[in-house]
């Protein structure tokens, strides 16, 4: 478990062109909006799970197979990237 959003950013950097550390996600579980850097990251041999520190809901899940990267972001109602900051 860890509050270091650079962990999430590392995982997301394969998927997003922008640096995601400062992007803000709205948790679909409790509605709280937080910077991705503040979310809890659980890395696992099979994939990565990003959870909301407020309600423990899963905000994002990412796995990597030999041929694909899978992202489930249904736990985030929205993700906002500030172009001026990235």
């Amino acid at each position: 478990m860890n509050v270091d959003g650079n962990a999430a950013a590392g995982v997301l950097s394969d998927l997003f062109v922008h640096d995601m550390t400062a992007a803000r996600a709205k948790c679909a579980g409790c509605g709280v909006i937080r910077e991705i850097a503040e979310l809890l990251v659980f890395a696992h041999g099979m994939g990565t799970v990003v959870r909301c520190p407020d309600c423990d809901g899963v905000v994002m899940r990412v796995s990597r197979t030999p041929t694909h990267v899978w992202l489930d972001a249904t736990g985030a109602t929205s993700i906002v990237i500030n172009l001026a900051a990235s």
Partner: protein
């Protein structure tokens, strides 16, 4: 064709090891833990295990009630999708066959598909047929000792003929389903069934 490394030969694979290893696996003597931080500690006083029918009917056991059911022991090989296999692991638990018959006596009718649910929200789906006939257990003992938390204790599902992600750690419930539904990894690129002998690791693998 991948780059050949000069002089690499691989372990001399004895015939019996070669037979026991599914394709793409290697044997480990260790028991790797796939998790990333301190493990959850669950209180036995509040632990329970349930079977839930597709109609919503439910039977529930407390830890003491669960342990009072007839125990089984099984020694088996296990295979993780991250490529390690461990031979001859010894488990103690309650067979799913026992749980199904106890459930039937209390009016729980099974359905063709099952979703296992764990503490923390993890889920995995298994066909009922793969849980019956001495093929699956809810295990609480490993190598003669209580199952350690980092390995899924107090109790985990044990379905050794499928990749080990199907053997859900910290299992709390088996929920019957009329239709199949993808669990946690099955909905994120991993194979829906997961037979190591056909190397069904990822979605799309034959």
């Amino acid at each position: 064709m991948a780059l050949i490394s000069r002089g690499f030969r691989g372990r001399k694979r004895s015939a019996d090891v070669a037979e026991r290893l599914p394709p793409g696996q290697y044997e480990t003597r260790d028991f790797p833990v796939l998790s990333a931080g301190p493990t959850p500690r669950i209180s036995l006083a509040t632990w329970d295990f349930s079977l839930q029918g597709a109609d919503g009917k439910r039977v529930r056991w407390t830890w003491d009630e669960f342990n009072a059911l007839p125990h089984s022991t099984v020694t088996t090989d296990i295979h993780c999708v991250t490529k390690w296999s461990k031979f001859g692991t010894a488990w103690e638990g309650i067979s799913i066959d026992t749980l199904l018959s106890e459930g039937a006596a209390k009016g729980i009718t099974p359905s063709p598909y099952v979703m296992a649910r764990s503490d923390g929200g993890y889920t995995t789906n298994v066909p009922l047929a793969d849980l019956m006939g001495a093929k699956a257990w809810v295990a609480f003992g490993f190598n003669g000792a209580p199952l350690a938390p980092e390995h899924g204790g107090p109790a985990r599902l044990l379905v050794p003929h499928l990749y080990f992600w199907k053997s859900a750690k910290w299992v709390r419930e088996l929920r019957f389903m009329e239709n199949d539904s993808a669990g946690f990894w099955e909905s994120l690129g991993y194979h829906n069934y997961g037979d190591p002998w056909r190397e069904q690791r990822y979605a799309g693998d034959e």
